[in-house]
């Protein structure tokens, strides 16, 4: 997006901030938010072309809601975002639903519904809800963000009150979601397969006389999700402000793709290396993917202090075969509101691509650095609430490891193990 568009967005932010809170037309409540950020890394490209500084970091949303009866509500939120190659400000329906409230312990939603996944996934698009700019990547990993954002289906939810024993909230949601072929969740591993096939072919043909290299041509790619369900439980303990949670998720789908390898040969007797022949071979694959994930969460809010910690484990099955290792990670963090304006936040997050190979000792054999096995992220965030509608933030990430770096954005320069990420963001809501 051009710099002019970013300035326009900033102007829109300022305009929004001058509006009063929420508008109502003909009984329809209208609310919205917009944010613009900036990312810069000292080394490595992360969440876009960050090593040279990236303004491709924004979110805009507007929602409309109306109570049809005492128990029935309809609503819709339009949302667009940009984060490096993700989103590109394409406007999508974030959620659109019918919500029927029957009893405190049993209610029902149908439509496109925001997904619970840990304590903070449902609100992750809304920057002003938290102190940090970037959520802990051990749990809220950006490449899978669009997969776990919302689900088209049904949801049952409710709350059981145990008087002095606290209360229990639950939500069961099931359905499916369309996944675009450019989602990093399916595109990054596809590109790794393509590049791996090219490297393998080149290694196999290296000693053939006249062999001059392998080129790749990407083809079709799609992921047909069959189903996904998520079950979330939150126990609000009798200790005021202290809650515990658990989430389990399962999704299954077919991952299909094809690509072409172009193998080039030159006349070995010709010193100029003029191309003699090219061989094109088309490769296609279909894999049934099953993912199971579990998260445990806890949060304690005491006066102006908020502490939280979460851990996740994710297991992949490909064509019913359990993959060798499991992804996993955890974080621990906190924030403190010094006054109405300023909040300081800290968190430490660590995640591993494979919990059985935390030190990355298996990675050099497949051409990767050992430090691509993990990512340690120590984060300091500052939040300044200008008023109820406008929030400014700044953040620094001190990172060791490179598990979350994608190969596409980091082809030109060798990746570094120790690096810093700086982030700035301005958000308005009304």
């Amino acid at each position: 997006m051009s710099i002019i568009k970013h300035i326009s967005l900033l102007m829109t932010l300022l305009l929004f901030s001058s509006l009063a809170s929420g508008q109502e037309f003909y009984g329809i409540d209208i609310h919205g938010f917009a944010s613009q950020g900036y990312l810069r890394t000292t080394d490595n490209n992360y969440l876009g072309k960050s090593s040279k500084g990236s303004f491709e970091f924004n979110e805009v949303g507007i929602n409309f809601q109306k109570d049809l009866t005492d128990n029935l509500r309809v609503g819709l939120q339009l949302f667009a975002r940009d984060l490096g190659s993700q989103g590109n400000n394409e406007v999508k329906i974030d959620w659109a639903l019918l919500d029927y409230k029957w009893k405190p312990f049993l209610n029902f939603r149908a439509g496109k519904i925001k997904m619970p996944y840990g304590f903070y996934n449902q609100g992750r698009d809304v920057d002003m809800l938290r102190t940090s700019i970037i959520l802990p990547q051990s749990i809220y990993n950006e490449p899978i963000r669009d997969v776990i954002a919302s689900l088209e289906g049904f949801s049952f939810y409710g709350n059981f009150d145990f008087n002095n024993g606290g209360s229990l909230e639950y939500e069961l949601i099931a359905g499916t979601i369309s996944i675009d072929s450019d989602f990093p969740f399916i595109k990054d591993p596809y590109l790794e397969i393509v590049n791996g096939a090219a490297s393998g072919a080149a290694a196999g043909l290296a000693n053939v006389p006249g062999f001059s290299g392998v080129e790749t041509l990407t083809g079709g790619l799609r992921f047909d999700m069959k189903y996904m369900y998520v079950f979330s439980l939150i126990y609000n303990t009798p200790i005021e402000g202290f809650r515990l949670g658990g989430t389990i998720l399962e999704l299954e789908g077919d991952w299909e793709g094809d690509f072409s390898l172009i193998t080039n040969f030159a006349n070995p007797a010709d010193p100029t290396g003029t191309l003699l022949i090219s061989s094109v071979s088309k490769v296609s694959f279909t894999t049934e993917v099953l993912i199971r994930s579990g998260i445990v969460s806890l949060e304690y809010v005491w006066k102006n202090l908020t502490l939280s910690a979460e851990g996740v484990v994710m297991q992949f099955y490909l064509d019913n075969e359990k993959s060798d290792g499991r992804n996993g990670g955890l974080y621990i963090g906190g924030s403190y509101e010094f006054n109405d304006k300023f909040t300081l936040g800290l968190y430490y997050s660590v995640n591993y691509d494979n919990l059985k190979d935390k030190d990355g000792s298996d990675l050099p054999a497949i051409g990767k650095k050992d430090f691509q096995a993990w990512q340690n992220d120590f984060v300091i965030s500052g939040r300044y609430d200008v008023n109820e509608y406008l929030v400014l933030k700044a953040e620094i990430h001190i990172i060791n490891g490179a598990a979350d770096l994608n190969s596409v954005d980091n082809q030109r320069d060798p990746i570094k193990e120790d690096w810093l990420l700086f982030a700035l963001k301005a958000t308005v809501s009304f």
Partner: protein, 143 residues
């Protein structure tokens, strides 16, 4: 001479303490539409109503309303909701922007809130003084 200075210091301290107490213990009075059908309410139900967790009480559809900001708002949140005003605002923004509901209607002044509660069946709100509140009843909170 020393005794007079000490006495003056005591007086100043007592005055400051008095100011502090009056600033922090501002009264919060729960009010409701006159036809709501009950005049006592559990503190826990107040919390659940203003967090959107219950919508009906004793068979009556409840319509909670708040003051946008100020001492009575802060005191109400501290007493019943156990959150500060920023935490309460963030709680409702999360509900609002994730499709889970809408926050209570809020008013800039107590006069506007009283007028709304007086004219809206099921409405519940809070104010700092009862003397100008016409057309509403006071709700007594109990644990």
């Amino acid at each position: 001479m020393m005794n007079i200075k000490l006495k003056n210091l005591y007086i100043v301290c007592i005055l400051m303490l008095g100011c502090f107490i009056s600033a922090t213990s501002q009264e919060v009075i729960l009010i409701a539409h006159k036809d709501i059908g009950f005049d006592t309410i559990k503190s826990k139900d107040v919390k659940y109503i203003f967090l959107g967790k219950i919508r009906k009480l004793k068979g009556v559809k409840i319509n909670p309303v708040t003051i946008k900001s100020g001492d009575v708002h802060d005191r109400f949140l501290d007493l019943y909701i156990k959150r500060n005003s920023r935490q309460y605002s963030k709680f409702w923004k999360k509900i609002l922007f994730t499709g889970k509901g809408k926050p209570p209607k809020s008013f800039k002044t107590e006069a506007e809130l009283i007028k709304y509660v007086a004219s809206t069946p099921g409405a519940i709100g809070y104010i700092s003084k009862l003397d100008k509140a016409e057309g509403v009843i006071q709700l007594k909170a109990k644990d």
